[in-house]
C-alpha cells in the first residue's frame, strides 16, 4: 500500500496543474468575491461576509480533488495498471486505501493553506483551534472518500468531471456557501442539511468565532465521517466492476 501512496504523491507533485486547482484558483476566488461583496461596507459590516466566504470557498474548492482522483483512476484503468496490480498479492482493499491516502495529504494541506491565507490576509478569527484542526481532518476524509467512490464508479473522466461539478457547485449553492442560508426559501434550507458542504461550512464558521458547542461538533463530525465512510464502502462495492471494465 505504501508503494501506491508514494507513487501517487510523486505523480501529483510533478503535476503543476494541481497547485493551480487546489490553491491558486480558490485564493483568486476568495479575494475576488470578498472585494465584490464588501465594497462599500464598513469594517463591522464586512466581517460576517469574510467569515462566511473564507471557510465557504475552502469547503467548496476541496471538492475539486474528486476530478484529480477520477483522472488518476481512469488513467490507471486505461493503461493496464489496474489489471496488472490485480495480478499482484495486494488486496483490492489495500489498493483502494493506497489510492485514497495520498489525496488526504493533499487536501489537508490545501485546507490548512486556505485557512492560513484567510488568517493572514483577512485576519479571520481562529478561536477553537483544536476543533478547526479536527474538522479539517474530517472534511478531508469526507471529500476524498466521496472522491474515491466517484473515481471507481464512473466510466469516463468526463463523467467524473461533470459529476464533480454537480456535487461541488450544486452542493455549494444548496449548502449555503454562496448565499446566506437565511436568504433561501425554507425548503432549500431543509435540503441543505443533506449536503456535506452545509455541515463543513457551519462547523468551520462556528469554530472560528468560538461558538461551536461540543454537541454540535460531534454531530457535524459524525455526519461528515458518515459521508466519507459511505464513499469507501461504495468504492469497495464498485471495485469488482471497475476491474471488470479494464479486463472484461
Amino acid at each position: 500500500m505504501n508503494a501506491i501512496i508514494k507513487l501517487e504523491l510523486k505523480k501529483n507533485i510533478q503535476d503543476r496543474g494541481m497547485i493551480f486547482w487546489t490553491l491558486v484558483l480558490p485564493i483568486l476566488f476568495t479575494v475576488l468575491f470578498i472585494s465584490v461583496f464588501t465594497s462599500g461596507l464598513n469594517e463591522a459590516e464586512s466581517q460576517p461576509v469574510i467569515l462566511s466566504i473564507v471557510p465557504g470557498y475552502t469547503v467548496m474548492f476541496v471538492f475539486f480533488i474528486m476530478i484529480t482522483m477520477t483522472e488518476s483512476m481512469i488513467k490507471d484503468q486505461n493503461n493496464g495498471l489496474v489489471a496488472r496490480i490485480a495480478s499482484t498479492p495486494l488486496s483490492s482493499y489495500l489498493y483502494l486505501l493506497g489510492k485514497w491516502v495520498p489525496y488526504m495529504y493533499i487536501v489537508f494541506i490545501q485546507i490548512v493553506i486556505l485557512l492560513l491565507f484567510g488568517k493572514v490576509v483577512y485576519n479571520v478569527p481562529i478561536e477553537q483551534l483544536f476543533y478547526i484542526i479536527v474538522l479539517a481532518f474530517i472534511l478531508t476524509f469526507m471529500v476524498t472518500g466521496l472522491g474515491l467512490a466517484l473515481a471507481i464508479l464512473v466510466k469516463t473522466t468526463n463523467m467524473g468531471i461533470a459529476l464533480t461539478q454537480v456535487l461541488a457547485l450544486g452542493g455549494a449553492l444548496i449548502g449555503g456557501l454562496w448565499m446566506p442560508l437565511e436568504m433561501m426559501p425554507e425548503l432549500l434550507q431543509t435540503i441543505s442539511r443533506f449536503t456535506p458542504q452545509y455541515w463543513g461550512h457551519q462547523g468551520f464558521r462556528e469554530a472560528m468565532t468560538g461558538t461551536l458547542a461540543m454537541g454540535d461538533f460531534f454531530k457535524i463530525s459524525s455526519v461528515l465521517l458518515g459521508f466519507g465512510i459511505l464513499g469507501f464502502i461504495l468504492a469497495l462495492i464498485g471495485y469488482p466492476n471497475f476491474l471488470k471494465r479494464t479486463t472484461g
Binding site: 505504501n2 508503494a3 508514494k6 510533478q14 493503461n79 496488472r84 499482484t88 495486494l90 476491474l243
Partner: protein, 295 residues
C-alpha cells in the same frame, strides 16, 4: 509433475464466448507456448491464471497454492510519467520486497533487461523495445516460479527480440516455468518445449512440440509459383493454398511429385521451388483449424 492445471474453464463476455471449456496441464520447468490467431482467447486465459479476471467458470488448480506468479500483460502497463527505477520499486514492493533485498533485486533485474544505464530516466523517453523490456522486468522482481508472458515481443526489433529470448532461456535454466502466448509460431518453435493451439476459445491440440510435429508432420510437398498447380491434387492428401505457393500434405509424396512434374512439363510452366518438406508447426496449426495465425 505439473505446476498448474486449467480445469474446464469457460469464460463469456456478455454474449461472446472467449473460452469454451478449456483444460490444460502445465508441467514444471517448461516453456509452454499458447498459440492462436487474434481473438482466440490467449489473453483471456492468461488473465484468468494471473487472477486479473475473477469471474469465470471452471477452476485453476495450482499444485503449490503459494507459488509466486509474475504476469507480463500484453499491453505496456507501466507508470510512464516516472522513471524505470520508480516502476521497479513500485512493483517490487507490491510483490512484498523491501529494503536492501529490493535494491539488490532491482539492480539484478535492470542488468537482466539491459536498462541499467537508463534506470533514472522517465519511461516516456524510452523506445518501444525498452518499454517492452521494462514491462517484463516489472514481473520478475520477486523471482516468480511461474512467469506468464502475453505477447512480450510485439512491435520490437529483432535485436530486442533475441535479447528477450535469451532472458527466457536464462529464466528456464533457473527452473522457472513460463507460459508464453504468441501468434508467431516461429517464436514458439524456437523457445518452447510444449504448446497448446487455441482457436475460437478451444484447445485444438496440445503437448510436447516434438510430439505434435511427429503426430501431424506427415511428409509434404512445397511448391511456389501458382501456375504449376494441377487440378485433382486433393486426392493425394490435404492441400493448403497460400498467396504464391501451396503445400500438399500427403502419404505418398513421390507419386504426387511425379504428378505435379508431369503437369508442369505439359503446361510448360516452371515452378520457382518444388521440394519435399516436413510441415512446420504453423502448417499443422492451419491444417488442424483452417485458421491462419495472421492475416
Amino acid at each position: 509433475m505439473e505446476v498448474l492445471k486449467v480445469d474446464q474453464i469457460t469464460k463469456k463476455y456478455e454474449k461472446k464466448t472467449a473460452l469454451a471449456n478449456i483444460s490444460l496441464e502445465i508441467p514444471a520447468g517448461v516453456c509452454f507456448g499458447l498459440v492462436g490467431p487474434n481473438g482466440a482467447g490467449k489473453s483471456t486465459l492468461l488473465k484468468i491464471i494471473a487472477s486479473v479476471i475473477r469471474n469465470f467458470q471452471g477452476k485453476i488448480r495450482l499444485t503449490n497454492p503459494r507459488m509466486k506468479i509474475g504476469y507480463v500483460p500484453q499491453e505496456i502497463a507501466l507508470e510512464e510519467t516516472v522513471t524505470a527505477q520508480d516502476n521497479l520499486v513500485f512493483f517490487g514492493k507490491l510483490y512484498g520486497l523491501s529494503g536492501k533485498a529490493l535494491t539488490l533485486r532491482i539492480e539484478e533485474v535492470l542488468e537482466e533487461i539491459g536498462l541499467t544505464e537508463r534506470a533514472k530516466d522517465k519511461v516516456t523517453t524510452f523506445s518501444g523495445g525498452m518499454k517492452r523490456r521494462l514491462n517484463i522486468g516489472c514481473a520478475l522482481l520477486h523471482q516468480p516460479d511461474l512467469i506468464i508472458m502475453d505477447e512480450p515481443t510485439v512491435g520490437i526489433d529483432p535485436q530486442s527480440r533475441r535479447y528477450i529470448f535469451q532472458m527466457i532461456e536464462r529464466l528456464k535454466q533457473k527452473g522457472a516455468t513460463i507460459i508464453y502466448a504468441s501468434h508467431y509460431m516461429e517464436e514458439i518453435e524456437r523457445i518452447c518445449d510444449e504448446a497448446a493451439f487455441l482457436d475460437h476459445g478451444k484447445v485444438v491440440e496440445n503437448g510436447r512440440i516434438s510430439m505434435i510435429l511427429e503426430k501431424h508432420g506427415k511428409p509434404s510437398i512445397f511448391v511456389s509459383g501458382n501456375d504449376c498447380m494441377p487440378s485433382g491434387l486433393e486426392s493425394f492428401g490435404m492441400l493448403q493454398e497460400k498467396a504464391e505457393s501451396y503445400l500438399l500434405i500427403t502419404r505418398d509424396p513421390l507419386q504426387a511429385m511425379e504428378y505435379i512434374v508431369e503437369y508442369c512439363k505439359r503446361s510448360g510452366s516452371h515452378p520457382e521451388r518444388l521440394e519435399l518438406a516436413k510441415p512446420r508447426l504453423e502448417d499443422i496449426f492451419f491444417s488442424l483449424t483452417g485458421s491462419q495465425l495472421r492475416e
